[in-house]
Symmetry: C2
Subunit: 198 residues, 2 copies
Amino acid sequence: MYSVKSIDKLIKEFSNLPGIGEKSAQRMAFFISRTSKEYAKRLIEAIREVMEKVKYCSICGSVTQTDPCPICQDKTRDTSIICVVEEPWDIFVFEKAGKFKGLYHVLGGAISPTKGMNPQDLNIRGLMQRVRTNRIREVILATDPNTDGQATALYIAKLLKKRGIRVTRLGMGLPVGGDLEFADEDTLSHALNGRRTM
Amino acid sequence: MYSVKSIDKLIKEFSNLPGIGEKSAQRMAFFISRTSKEYAKRLIEAIREVMEKVKYCSICGSVTQTDPCPICQDKTRDTSIICVVEEPWDIFVFEKAGKFKGLYHVLGGAISPTKGMNPQDLNIRGLMQRVRTNRIREVILATDPNTDGQATALYIAKLLKKRGIRVTRLGMGLPVGGDLEFADEDTLSHALNGRRTM
């Protein structure tokens, strides 16, 4: 089949990015082949900068340019409460909402037998270490509200409860701004169980 | 708001790619921040290679690593028929189907008053030049089957017909493998007009 080798190579590399299928990768690669050299250079520089400057926080495991990260260094935050998330990105979602003033802990994924992710592949040891050496009164398990996230939360909850720590899970129910008719059975059942008196 | 400067910069650059919204750009940038350095380096190299090695074919305007491109150089192809497309990518779609054995011509877009694209912004002059200096018996106008593509096809058809060349347009109708119930009125009307005796 007719092809341009360099573009094919770029399509393949773009396809490795999360959420990028073959069609999107093609579109992106052809765009690069026709765009200004200035944009391509800026993109290369931006990737290189992330590759070289972004590291992991040695405390919470999030991505950061300083170690510890700005949140772990922030003296104004409540150090007695830790919110456990799967990925660094989740922290940014929380921070955007701006309602949580405690610390975070990044697991680096979720337990998933199908994806070959076992408890020892996650940064659970780091979490237990933090719980042992700091005064923690509550751990919020904010893993994803899906099967893997639930299994992970249950696994960690068991370990933490042995140490007598208050363990909570984010409330599940209807998404705000959503449409009731699009809610699946599980969500609706959680929403019912979590109903409140008005 | 809490952020990591280098990641923010990369999100911004990724957002400039076609079809990539803010959420996808975030996902991709966070992926880069956590992926192996090997992958990031391969991606950088692939972008650089496209930037440095891919150029335009001086005959058809497609992207290529040699000039003329392999198709324009191919002695086995029918040089009397030109298929006119909007973007280089369209050529790859045709070549994948493998049914067309003539040459191509890339316009570089379509006439679009709303996007500020005028006939002189497209490589129409190059097409007329080819038609003048070569024995062309047919030009297939394969611009997109939307308003801009139709307007562009009509504009070029007028110019070519003055020169007495056979001008055709790709057939429009129901997409193969599609579902009749999802067909819009225009498609259905084209399908009706183009119906064939079985």
